[in-house]
């Protein structure tokens, strides 16, 4: 019997080792979870949504409060600084005026040659409109006096001329402050009458403290004028606050699923994702921005190369009007519109921090108005001479000086700058808040100053101008906050919010103040920017 051969045919079915067995069985396995699990998950998602909403709302409130506090701080600081600057200038003017009067009195007393000789010092050597106007004023005031040659009469002439100047100054007070002007008129007129009376008594040989009385009447009026001055310089950006203080994204629900939740283990468990994230260029976003702001150059030209070589009387008068022009210039200085366009490059450092830089071009405008044709720290108009064209006579108790209208001066500055900013906020799609701080270094390409009605007085400076009163290299710090919006799966995002900028350097090249008391430009406005780049710039693995 033949025995059948053993069946050695191998099993045709696939085999594998232990790992292959489990991998093959587990790879595509499906097990349906219990039916109610989705409802449970739905409830959990709703709870999660509510918690996230509360958390976001809390964060938004804090950010809004911080922005409000920042804006109030900047505003308060600017106002206080402006007030302090105005007070300092007025105090300086008081000192200069006292010096002028002392010089006038001393000059009159020390000049035994008579009235004609005393006035001739100024009349023979006028170097500009101020000196000429002062000389004319003195001459006009002295016409009603019979030349006796005595020192008492000379002093009376000087006091009379000074009263005329003060009356003329009172008449120049800007309109719009009727109550203060009327009060000032009364005080000035009282002062003038007092001086005239005392001058008369002094001519008779009596003595008195004329300067003291006059000073006491004069300064309270200036004080009220100064009060109106810094009130007039209140920043105009107050109107801008309502637009963003209460602003709050109303699409918070869309954020709920966009909350990044970094997890260390997830990052460790997902090397494929993190390897891709090392492509640095994916974090780069290019774009542009446009900013519109209220810009105040905040220049203080006080004692800025305004002195001339002349006799003491001329310098005293020159100082008086220079200071007066500077005060008036600052008092009427108004913020203008600043427009800034920029090409930006934003680099996402991580999920919250973004570094932004680029290049920007800015055009800034501002206006002021003075009675002196005061531009760029100099008096380019002969307007001052007109002040004395119709001065009253010596015997007149109410000088009939016609009020001199202020003339508007316009300023335009064009700069290019390189800003560097760091922004904190979400980089995920949806609506989120951001805050940023930064600094910029700029170059003043050119400036143009115009005097209304006098095109010949227009001054234009460029990079090559050596006599420009403005600083060419400027630095500033800036900050802002607002809303960032990126649609789901979009490769662009929109950033909109208020921004504030403060100069670290003064706009004028040679400020005479100490560093801590210098006036620096500032601006407050709105900025909008759009960025284009990878739709998912950040790495967030669960």
């Amino acid at each position: 019997m033949a025995t059948s051969a053993p069946n050695t045919t191998p099993d045709p079915r696939p085999t594998g080792d232990l790992e292959h067995l489990f991998r093959q069985k587990f790879a595509d396995a499906e097990v349906a979870p219990r039916a109610g699990l989705w409802e449970q998950l739905d409830t959990e998602l709703l709870v999660e949504q509510n918690n996230t909403y509360r958390r976001k709302l809390s964060v938004h409130r804090w950010v809004a409060a911080a922005c409000l506090l920042l804006l109030l701080s900047i505003s308060g600081w600017a106002v206080l600084r402006q007030w302090h600057s105005s007070s300092s200038t007025i105090a300086g003017q008081r000192a200069a005026a006292t010096d002028s009067r002392a010089t006038i009195a001393a000059k009159g007393l020390e000049n035994p040659a008579g009235t004609a000789g005393g006035v001739g010092v100024a009349a023979n050597g006028p170097r500009n409109g101020v000196a000429a106007g002062a000389a004319e004023g003195l001459a006009a005031a002295s016409t009603g006096v019979s030349p006796s040659g005595s020192e008492q009469e000379l002093l009376a002439n000087a006091y009379n001329a000074y009263a005329t100047l003060l009356a003329a100054h009172n008449q120049r007070s800007p309109t719009g402050r009727a109550s203060q002007s009327s009060a000032g008129n009364q005080l000035y007129q009282g002062a003038a009458a007092n001086i005239v009376g005392v001058g008369g008594r002094y001519a008779d040989g009596s003595t008195g403290s004329t300067v003291t009385q006059f000073t006491g009447n004069y300064f309270p009026t200036e004080g009220s004028a100064a009060g109106a001055g810094w009130n007039g310089l209140l920043p105009r950006f107050a109107n801008l606050r309502g637009g963003w203080v209460g602003a709050r994204p109303d699409t918070l629900k869309a954020l709920l699923l966009a909350v990044p939740q970094p997890n260390r283990n997830a990052v460790a468990a997902a090397p494929d994702e993190t390897q891709t994230s090392t492509k640095q260029w994916r974090r780069l976003r290019l774009g542009g921005s446009l900013a519109v702001a209220a810009y105040n150059p905040n220049i203080n030209f006080s004692h800025n190369d305004g002195r001339v070589q002349a006799d003491d009387v001329t310098n005293a008068l020159r100082n008086y009007y220079q200071d007066d022009a500077e005060v008036e210039y600052r008092r009427n200085l108004r913020a203008g519109m600043s427009q800034r366009v920029a090409l930006t490059a934003a680099y996402s450092l991580n999920q919250h921090w973004t570094l932004t830089s680029g290049v920007e071009a800015t055009q800034q405008r501002a206006t002021s108005a003075t009675s002196y044709g005061f531009i760029d720290g100099r008096q380019v108009s002969r307007q001052v001479a007109d002040l004395f064209a119709s001065t009253g006579s010596y015997s007149s108790a109410r000088p009939t000086v016609a009020p001199t209208a202020t003339r508007k001066t316009s300023y335009r500055y064009r700069t290019v700058a390189v800003p560097v900013e760091i922004r904190y906020g979400s980089t995920q799609p949806g609506t989120s808040l951001y805050a940023k701080v930064g600094a910029a270094v700029g170059l003043l390409l050119g400036s143009r100053s115009e005097l209304d009605g006098s095109p010949e007085a227009t001054r234009t400076y460029s990079l090559t101008s050596t006599d420009s009163p403005y600083r060419q290299v400027q630095t500033s710090v800036r900050g802002g906050a607002g809303v960032r919006y990126q649609p789901a799966n979009a490769s662009w995002n929109l950033v909109l919010g208020p921004t504030a900028e403060m100069g670290l350097t003064t706009l004028n090249a040679n400020p005479s103040q100490r560093v801590m008391k210098q006036s620096r430009p500032y601006s407050v406005g709105l900025e909008a920017s759009v960025e284009f780049g990878n739709s998912k710039p950040s790495v967030a693995t669960p």
């Binding site: 079915r13 499906e30 097990v31 449970q40 998950l41």
Partner: protein
């Protein structure tokens, strides 16, 4: 020790290896943004991009569709890492919450299923850390021979293999799943579990030995009429 050395030399050929060798899916399916979500389209015909966009737009319906599409496969994953069905459902729920919370960070460079699977594995690891803190096991405590066995794949079902995996001690189950099924290396597993690379090798060796013995016991109890090996 030689056994451990041979373990270290084995390439990671789990699902991650399969993924690396998988042809890239059609670009449109993962990168093309869809502006409008088709609400009336049957859920099975919705593309991944549509599901993702709908979820990102806050549509709860799309979230449900996404859950229904992947919950079965993800439940199987969670069951491998969990000891009980109840625990697996906890992991599944936590994982899907994480998915919906972080969906905006999904870059669509890989199939959505792999991304969700990673999230589920991470959720299982978190659950494991909460429930069963690992006890350090010295290296080389359970040196075992690894080579030599051959199993006929068709002889075993998912349920019985899942049952013997779930019977493993948690630390062995974690290491076995991560190494044999997911394809992570022992160094990565050590970092994920907070243990040393040698400990991971040792635990995997022990888990493998246990599984092998259980499968052999399964073969002995079966009445299939032929040997399984």
């Amino acid at each position: 020790m030689r056994a451990l050395a041979s373990l270290a030399l084995q390439p990671a050929t789990g699902l991650r290896g399969l993924l690396a060798g998988t042809p890239a899916p059609p670009t449109e399916a993962f990168t093309s943004p869809v502006s409008t979500v088709r609400q009336l389209t049957p859920p099975s015909q919705l593309s991944e991009a549509e599901l993702i966009d709908g979820c990102l737009a806050g549509s709860r319906l799309m979230q449900k569709h996404l859950y229904e599409r992947f919950s079965g496969r993800m439940m199987a994953v969670c069951l491998r890492y969990a000891q009980t069905t109840f625990e697996a459902e906890d992991v599944l729920q936590e994982g899907f919450i994480t998915v919906f919370r972080n969906l905006s960070s999904f870059r669509r460079e890989c199939p959505l299923e792999f991304w969700i699977r990673r999230i589920m594995v991470n959720a299982a690891l978190r659950q494991h850390r909460r429930n069963a803190p690992l006890v350090a096991v010295s290296e080389g405590e359970y040196p075992e021979e690894l080579a030599g066995e051959e199993f006929t794949l068709a002889n075993y079902g998912f349920e019985e293999l899942l049952a013997i995996v779930q019977e493993l001690a948690p630390r062995y189950r974690m290491v076995f799943n991560l190494f044999a099924i997911e394809g992570y290396g022992h160094k990565e597993i050590g970092e994920m579990l907070g243990i040393s690379e040698g400990t991971s090798k040792s635990q995997y060796s022990r888990a493998r030995a246990i599984l092998k013995s259980k499968i052999e016991r399964l073969d002995a109890q079966s009445n299939h009429g032929h040997f399984r090996t």
